[in-house]
């Protein structure tokens, strides 16, 4: 009998919604939430011996501790397979699933599987590290997700050969696997062109590597007269993170006033970013958001002025779509405020 340990969040365990996202990891021995559907789909070949329930906020804000604890829990049960989620389009849940699945795979050498919607930030982050089954974008797609995940899960547990992403239902992970289609390539090309001409959806058989190039604006004419603003994805926030910008998969950005501030100190600023060792940024946030240097340049007349507001978010696992949306919003303010150029810092 194949032993499976499952990981789900507070919502799917029926503990509660956002308000319960802070609960720490705990083990349930009874089958919970999606586990019921999985158990059925396994048709007696596998059983879920334990379900780990963890709040999404807790996981994302206490990454190291949560990982350690959960790995310990998994190790105790010594399963043949670890399944996380499916997370559908829930960003922090998806990142949690990807993170914990990758950790179990790397540190415990147990086959892992997770599932989420293709636009979940966890997908881009982890699809090349662990198998991620492509699901619909909400829990309405649970039945469909389990249908795809269960057979692949059993294959992984049994150590069987995993075929191409198109055949097995996982997200293309950068490893090309050959297989025979039902129709010849020229027919597939004609079908694809017909879909493209009709404006219908189609799926390319080979995604081009992502370039996402942005054409640079022309250079600033006179930098000594320019108003420069600072924008960062390095997560620098006032001490205490008053707006609770998440350490990963940020759902918001912050706008803070540095009028009169010439230097960021350990007492007044910190980093909210969960994706890098925060020690040096917490000691001196100027290292990520160079306010002190720009104030010097301002005094020396090398730049016109430093804009009084800086904008910040956490770039860790934040969806490209979200980042674009934030910027579209606050760049309007930057323009209205007469900012000529922006220095973008990232980590």
């Amino acid at each position: 009998m194949i032993k499976v340990v499952q990981y789900i969040n507070q919502f799917f365990a029926n503990v509660g919604g956002e308000e319960m996202a802070h609960i720490p990891a705990e083990v349930r021995t009874e089958v919970v939430g999606p586990g019921l559907a999985f158990q059925q789909a396994f048709k007696g070949e596998a059983e879920i011996v334990a379900t780990i329930v963890c709040g999404d906020s807790y996981f994302n804000e206490n990454l190291e501790e949560a990982k350690k604890t959960i790995l310990g829990m998994v190790k105790e049960y010594n399963p043949d397979l670890f399944i996380a989620g499916p997370a559908f389009n829930a960003g922090r849940y998806g990142v949690a699933c990807g993170t914990i699945a990758a950790a179990v795979k790397e540190e415990l050498n147990i086959p892992v599987l997770t599932g989420m919607y293709k636009e979940n930030p966890g997908a881009d982050m982890f699809k090349n590290k662990v198998y991620i089954v492509s699901t619909k974008n909400s829990a309405v797609g649970m039945k469909d997700a389990v249908k795809k995940m269960a057979p692949l899960a059993l294959k992984l547990a049994k150590g069987e050969q995993i075929l191409s992403s198109a055949e097995e239902g996982y997200m293309p992970n950068g490893i090309r696997v050959n297989f025979f289609e039902k129709e010849r390539g020229s027919r597939r090309a004609v079908n694809m062109l017909l879909a493209k001409l009709a404006g219908k959806e189609f799926e390319t058989e080979f995604p081009m590597p992502d370039f996402d190039r942005v054409a640079p604006n022309p250079a600033v004419k006179d930098i000594t007269k320019a108003k420069i603003a600072l924008v960062t994805s390095g997560g620098i926030v006032p001490k205490g993170n008053p707006d609770h910008i998440e350490s990963s998969s940020a759902s918001k950005y912050g706008k803070y006033d540095i009028e009169g501030v010439t230097d960021l100190t350990e007492a007044t600023y910190e980093t909210a970013h969960g994706g890098y060792d925060p020690v040096y940024a917490n000691q001196d946030s100027d290292r990520v958001l160079p306010v002190d240097v720009l104030r010097d340049l301002e005094k020396e007349g090398k730049i016109g002025s430093l804009h009084r507001y800086f904008y910040t978010t956490v770039g860790n696992g934040t969806a490209v779509k979200s980042s674009k949306a934030f910027a579209a919003e606050f760049s309007k303010e930057l323009l209205a405020d007469g900012v000529d150029a922006v220095i973008l810092t990232s980590t």
């Binding site: 191409s164 992403s165 198109a166 055949e167 293309p172 950068g174 490893i175 090309r176 696997v177 050959n178 297989f179 025979f180 289609e181 039902k182 129709e183 010849r184 390539g185 020229s186 027919r187 597939r188 090309a189 004609v190 694809m192 062109l193 017909l194 493209k196 001409l197 189609f202 390319t204 058989e205 080979f206 081009m208 590597p209 992502d210 370039f211 996402d212």
Partner: protein, 426 residues
Amino acid sequence: MKLELGYIYIKDIQFAEESKVENGTLYVNKEKVKELVLEDEHFKSVEVDLAKPGESTRIMPVKDVIEPRVKVEGPGGIFPGMVSKVETVGSGKTHVLKGAAVVTTGKIVAFQEGIIDMTGPGSEYTPFSKLNNLVLICEPVDGLKQHDHERALRFAGYKVAVYLGELARTLVPDQVEVFETPTVKEGLKLYPELPRVAYVLMLQSQGLMHDTYVYGVDAKQTLTTMLYPTEIMDGAIVSGNCVSACDKNTTYHHINNPVVHDLFSEHGKTINFVGVIITNENVYLADKERSSNWSAKLAEFLGLDGVIISQEGFGNPDTDLIMNCKKIEAKGIKTVIITDEYAGRDGSSQSLADADASANAVVTGGNANQVINLPALEKVIGYTSVADIIAGGFSGSLHEDGSITAELQVITGATNEMGFNKLSAR
């Protein structure tokens, strides 16, 4: 231009006193074939053999595969500019010995190209394992230069294919398919509402053993131009390309171009298949720019809504492919491109030598680096010992028991970039 293709289905091939086709069997007078080949003084001897589907036979190294056809009605003859005169073909009636092929083998250069297995795992990767093949093993005279050897072998293949095709002249076809392309003016009147689609066919054109001929003209010397799709069905384009067995287009691939056939099946229904734009793949970068500029220019000139682009070969043709794609997309014309991949043995490397975000609709013929084990077969036609130096092979790839471990690269037609096969990758 309208062409009727009459298929005579060949289910078996045998040597006999008299060459003829009877009840689906192609009978071949071996001596007559040898005579034909030896008309060319560049050959000192020739062997002729048979390879049938399901037999435990391996053919290697394969140079070209050619299908026997004959022009029954209408201007010109098969392989215009090569074996026949240059008259424009593609109209009237042509008969095809469907299920038969001529396969040429030979050591033009010491590194060898192309395996066809008629049975076993290898047979799944080549369309030629399903054909009744007449194999020519031609021995060149001593000291023959490679250019002359390549040319002689190429023509030997066409001559024999034409000789066999002739046997179908007076037969009644088992099945007839009609293909018709209207002129631009007629097409606009007939199909005013249908999207205008053309096929951009990229031809390998780099030098010795990397050439393609259009009505006998070396594709290196050509400017991007147009053909009626049916001209291709009469052999207007033939292959002089013998390097990279998996993704080179044999003459058989050209004359049976699957994109042409599949676009025709939609013609008049969902699209207006306007025609074929042929363009080359020269090594000189300015030539690449010029050729792709012209593809885009012609596509726009024809008022196209969409194109399918197929390429041939590895490496620098990826640049031509992306140039063609980018420039045509920039004209507001939608593209689908067909390629193959070299993603490394583990499938994790960058598949193409070039890329662009506008190439968002890609069909792939598979990863050519995938390693395959070909079991020893009872009969080998050709030269075995070359497996070690076959492209995609490696030292130790020919095992003592006669089996071969090599990349898919070695199998003729395995990752064809016209979309001839069902192999793909994700």
